[in-house]
């Protein structure tokens, strides 16, 4: 049964109810007490996101300082439930203008109740597209487009759009200048052993799109991915152009993309929602260009002293540079004194996370930088267990660089009025979980 929820609760960290909405009669009125008693106030919190208490199951997520708890008593679709929460939160964010936390909920509780009534019926998720909902659920309820007084901008076909085949875009949009912004954002995930061999490495990328297009445009996106190119040359019966092609392990698309067409023709064609959205996500494991190499050496000198040496090399093009580079080098809990030398940037010992945090604001390509630190430890009695070293973690952003090598080849826009569009493309690579064991 694809039911996703019998009831949904929003709680703050103390367990106070911020919002509650019952969708079905099969769970008791205040199941939230059971959640507080058996999960929140015990060590269970955080050990498993799906728990059964009595006859009910609790599915919960923490988002900033709010717990969102779904209660069900049937064999509900858990994937659907969690995805619904994720989507609902992004919907709320789009309504509140960014933040989603306890204060935002309290300040908008009427709106949230209204939305909760609209986006789920009897436990079945309905249309959650912010674009469409904003047509008729407005922040100023007084200006409802359906109040019997004729308002300035009526949207008579809102209901048709909610339920329509293109349920994510409203009709009749007009822009003076038709523009599309494409952002290719890649996260590199790396797990490297202390000896420098790559244990796991992959890139998860997403293509974010911001559309300011009039009417109902049909878009088609072309990338330098292998399958797409092969299919294209096959259809046009001409050989593939030389140049780098990328093999995508997997792609997932926003609901606007015609999946059947992608499956048969390997083209990404869609009618985009208005404004900002995530067009597609992809994953690549082969041929990843790592932007940074990290070479740590850690020497334990006796029981109270340690020497840490970390060398970071940038291996992307010399004309590019990385921004906001942070290297977190873990040190033992009983660290007493630290002293460092860095060739660039700044290092600091942060006791609350037991790490030396080394920050470099701008890191040019094809260069290297080192930090050497000396650490004095408090000698503790009977500390037989050797220190288990957590991995070194790194954060960075490299603009105009893609770790996968993915490029946008074309973006075609068709609209019956035949206007011209301006397309902007940006690339950026960020660190996902970039970990080096030491």
């Amino acid at each position: 049964m694809p039911v996703a929820a019998s009831a949904i609760y929003f709680l703050n960290l103390r367990g106070d109810v911020l919002i509650n909405r019952l969708y079905r009669d099969d769970v008791g009125g205040n199941m939230v007490d059971a959640f507080r008693m058996h999960i929140m106030q015990t060590k269970e919190l955080g050990t498993c996101p799906v728990r059964q208490i009595g006859g009910c199951s609790f599915l919960y997520m923490r988002i900033s300082n709010v717990y969102i708890v779904i209660v069900v008593s049937s064999n509900a679709n858990v994937a659907c439930a969690f995805k619904f929460v994720v989507e609902a939160v992004s919907l709320f964010k789009s309504y509140f203008g960014g933040a989603f936390d306890e204060d935002a909920i309290r300040n908008n509780f009427v709106l949230i109740y209204e939305l909760l009534d609209e986006i789920m019926d009897f436990g079945y998720p309905q249309n959650l597209s912010p674009e469409i909902l904003k047509l008729y659920i407005t922040q100023e309820g007084v200006r409802s487009p359906f109040s019997s007084k004729p308002s300035e901008r009526p949207v008579p076909n809102a209901t048709l759009q909610v339920t329509g085949a293109v349920g994510w875009r409203r009709e009749g949009l007009v822009y003076k200048k038709n523009e599309v912004f494409l952002d290719i954002v890649e996260s590199v995930n790396l797990l490297m052993s202390s000896k420098g061999s790559v244990l796991r490495c992959d890139v998860t990328g997403k293509i974010l799109m911001k559309c300011f297009l009039s009417g109902m445009p049909d878009l088609k996106l072309g990338l330098n991915d292998k399958i797409g190119l092969e299919k294209e040359s096959q259809m046009k019966s001409r050989p593939t152009k030389s140049g780098k092609t990328i093999e995508l392990d997997d792609v997932t698309f926003h609901q606007c993309v015609n999946l059947t067409r992608f499956n048969s023709e390997k083209t990404v064609s869609f009618v985009p929602p208005d404004g900002e959205f995530e067009l597609m996500k992809y994953r690549i494991t082969e041929g990843v260009n790592l932007p940074f190499r990290v070479l740590p050496t850690i020497k334990e000198l006796g029981r109270t002293r340690m020497e840490v040496n970390v060398k970071v090399k940038s291996v992307f093009g010399a004309k590019m540079f990385a921004l906001g580079v942070v290297v977190k080098v873990p040190v033992p809990k009983q660290t007493a004194k630290t002293s460092f030398q860095v060739t660039s940037g700044r290092a600091k010992y942060n006791a609350s996370i037991d790490s030396i945090v080394w920050k470099i604001r701008k890191f040019p390509g094809q260069t290297e930088s080192t930090m050497s630190a000396e650490i004095e430890l408090i000698s503790t009695m009977g500390e037989k267990k050797s220190w288990t070293r957590p991995p070194i973690q790194m954060e960075f952003q490299v603009p105009m660089f893609t770790a996968s090598g993915l490029r946008v080849r074309f973006l075609k826009v068709w609209e019956k009025s035949g206007y011209n569009t301006v397309e902007w493309v940006r690339y950026i690579t960020k660190a996902g979980s970039y970990e080096i064991r030491c």
Partner: protein, 903 residues
Amino acid sequence: MSGHDSKYFSTTKKGEIPELKEELNSQYKDKKKDAVKKVIAAMTVGKDVSSLFTDVVNCMQTENLELKKLVYLYLINYAKSQPDLAILAVNTFVKDSQDPNPLIRALAVRTMGCIRVDKITEYLCDPLQRCLKDDDPYVRKTAAICVAKLYDINAELVEDRGFLETLKDLISDNNPMVVANAVAALAEIQDNSARPIFEITSHTLSKLLTALNECTEWGQVFILDALSRYKAADAREAENIVERVTPRLQHANCAVVLSAVKMILQQMELITSTDVVRNLCKKMAPPLVTLLSAEPEIQYVALRNINLIVQKRPTILAHEIKVFFCKYNDPIYVKMEKLEIMIMLASDRNIDQVLLEFKEYATEVDVDFVRKAVRAIGRCAIKLERAAERCISVLLELIKIKVNYVVQEAIIVIKDIFRRYPNTYESIIATLCESLDTLDEPEAKASMIWIIGEYAERIDNADELLESFLESFPEEPALVQLQLLTATVKLFLKKPTEGPQQMIQAVLNNATVETDNPDLRDRAYIYWRLLSTDPEAAKDVVLAEKPVISDDSNLLDPSLLDELLANIATLSSVYHKPPEAFVSRARTAAPRPDDEEYPDGGETAYSESPSHAADAAPAPVTAAGTSAVTHAAAKQPAPPATVPAAAPVPDLLGDLMGLDNSIVPVDQPTTPSGPPLPVLLPSSTGQGLQITAQLVRRDGQIFYNIQFENNSQIVLDGFMIQFNKNTFGLAAAGPLQVPPLQPGASARTLLPMILFQNVSTGPPSSLLQVAVKNNQQPVWYFNDKISLHAFFVEDGRMERANFLETWKNLPDANEVTKDLPNAVINSVDATIEHLTASNVFFVAKRRNASKDLLYLSTKIPRGIPFLIELTATVGIPGVKCAVKTPSPELAPLFFEAMETLLK
């Protein structure tokens, strides 16, 4: 951009309700609206604002949509508590359902469906009928779901008014969202009905698959989930379906992907072409891996499902093991699941890499994770013969770190490795022996002792090592005692010198005379007789070759696996349990009058029988179990698999059971009646004889309510019964009276019981071992559970003063507290009445915040009182039970009884 609603929460002045009442009746619209917002805010934080019902409903007639929605929200919450006043709202609802604005029409129908008040339901039918045929798809899609709501309230009404037919028509609607909601509603109605309502024909199937392309993401989930029940006629149809579903694997919504995977896996069963299957496996892998980059909670759901998928089709992710490597910052629940899948995917090809990972994990901080990682290394060793040596060398490295729990866990898995590969790796025993002193966990100790006993001939000082454990024999947990007993016998058989001889005498003495543990005593007696009658035979039995073990500790039974795979993405697939195991209420289609008479006992019988069956089943030979016990069975002609493991060898029966109540014959028939009893001996085990029984209390007397059912082909007669020593010394007070049973016949009798006849010493246990025999079959042994509430005597009532005094006079150490998560108090009065009927008497009650505290008393024979304090919130599962009694050792049994009574 954000609002400022928080101010509505801040009114906590005195006289809030009257104030709100006044504002609600204000003539100013803004003030009215603010007042309703305040009411909703108060409702959210749990204040009771039901007294404002009339005033709020009066605000319903408004043109302001926001205000209307708030009033509707209030109605959904409180209509049930004010059914008579709720009728006031009906007029507005009916009027709204004809409003020119489709949003208001839909809102009215949606809200009416949520109000479960009979009088309102009557009025819902006409508007619903209209809305199902509304011109606006938004209204139709809302009405479609509303039919499911109405079915939940009153199924008959839905059928009588022909809503089902209209709903079925909506499957052909031209709007995809209406179709999706109609499918969801029909699927749900079908789930709750025994009659075929929504049958998917190949025609509907193809229509719905087409609709799939145009639906919202959620609609796709509804349709895919409904279609996954469709059984394709042949391989060709299955291939066709799969081809049309595969594009969904590329969807960004994880629920769509998992539902598509579910459907593909279902259809793959029918597909015969290996090429197609291989191709599909290849297509499913990447989307499954992609799920692991979602939010951790979604990752968890995905991993639990991948666990099932890998068990069914190991090839799908055979090359993807790296994606399951744990990230340092993964939440613990994600790490644990990844580890499990890594073990499944480990192969000769990737084992080196996997071992490096496990070794890394074994040095992390979280103790549970570290233990699991160490155990994982052992499981890989058992699974992959060629890698065993490498696994062992990693384990040895870990032992050298000398972290206590790592060493203990390593020893546990090494024992299993020794069993799997005998005579291969014994050279490491010396290293293990070095850690002997650090062992403090029973399982690790037992494993080490097993190793010493098994390899006594190769360990020079085996006798010294064992002797060091023997000193503390009486204090050791049962697990360790059993292993010590067996190990000493092995040592004696291998080195029959003076030292071991003395040891064995000491151990046998300890294990027969000094102990109360029947398992230990039984085993000791077996050894004793074997050793004294025929030492050579003893060697054959005790030192016999052991059956090979394999690592199946986490594999599911194939039929269960298939059932779970049909439930991918649901709770069932996360719990790895079939839905009926955790969905408590069996929702029958319609509350028809004859259904309501169904006896309560039906459910008890259901819930108890599986656990008993499990108790009685022979322990499977797995790596995880304590495997040393099984050798006794190994050499003998294979015993019928049906002999309960815990039962003693028949020859010894006289020693153990034949005390003072002799076996009694049967002659008088009794009438079978009453609710079903828990099955203790299933007919599959009892060669066609099924025994169900339960201890009950009637008129101040304890009876064993026992029923025999003869499913065999022969007449059974001469039934006799015996009870083993037990904590309460329960024994039959008279003969068992059962008539000869014809094939297919059954008989039930109430056997009067007496107490304190053959009392076993030692810690109280609820175990009741029963032996039943008849003239045609061998003796049957089974275990029952003594429920303490059968002992609660009728004169357990206590006066308030007496209660207080007794409570004060008992030392604090005699107070035991426990949470009973499955107990619930739905109404204080009903609970008191119910408990009084079971001889638990009410003393006093009070309220503390939202919780109710109940004070009760009861007494068991020999005048042992129990003073009870229950703390609970009415209607919420979970009762805290504190009990003070002169016999606190009985508390665990008492809690069990209370939990049963409060279910």
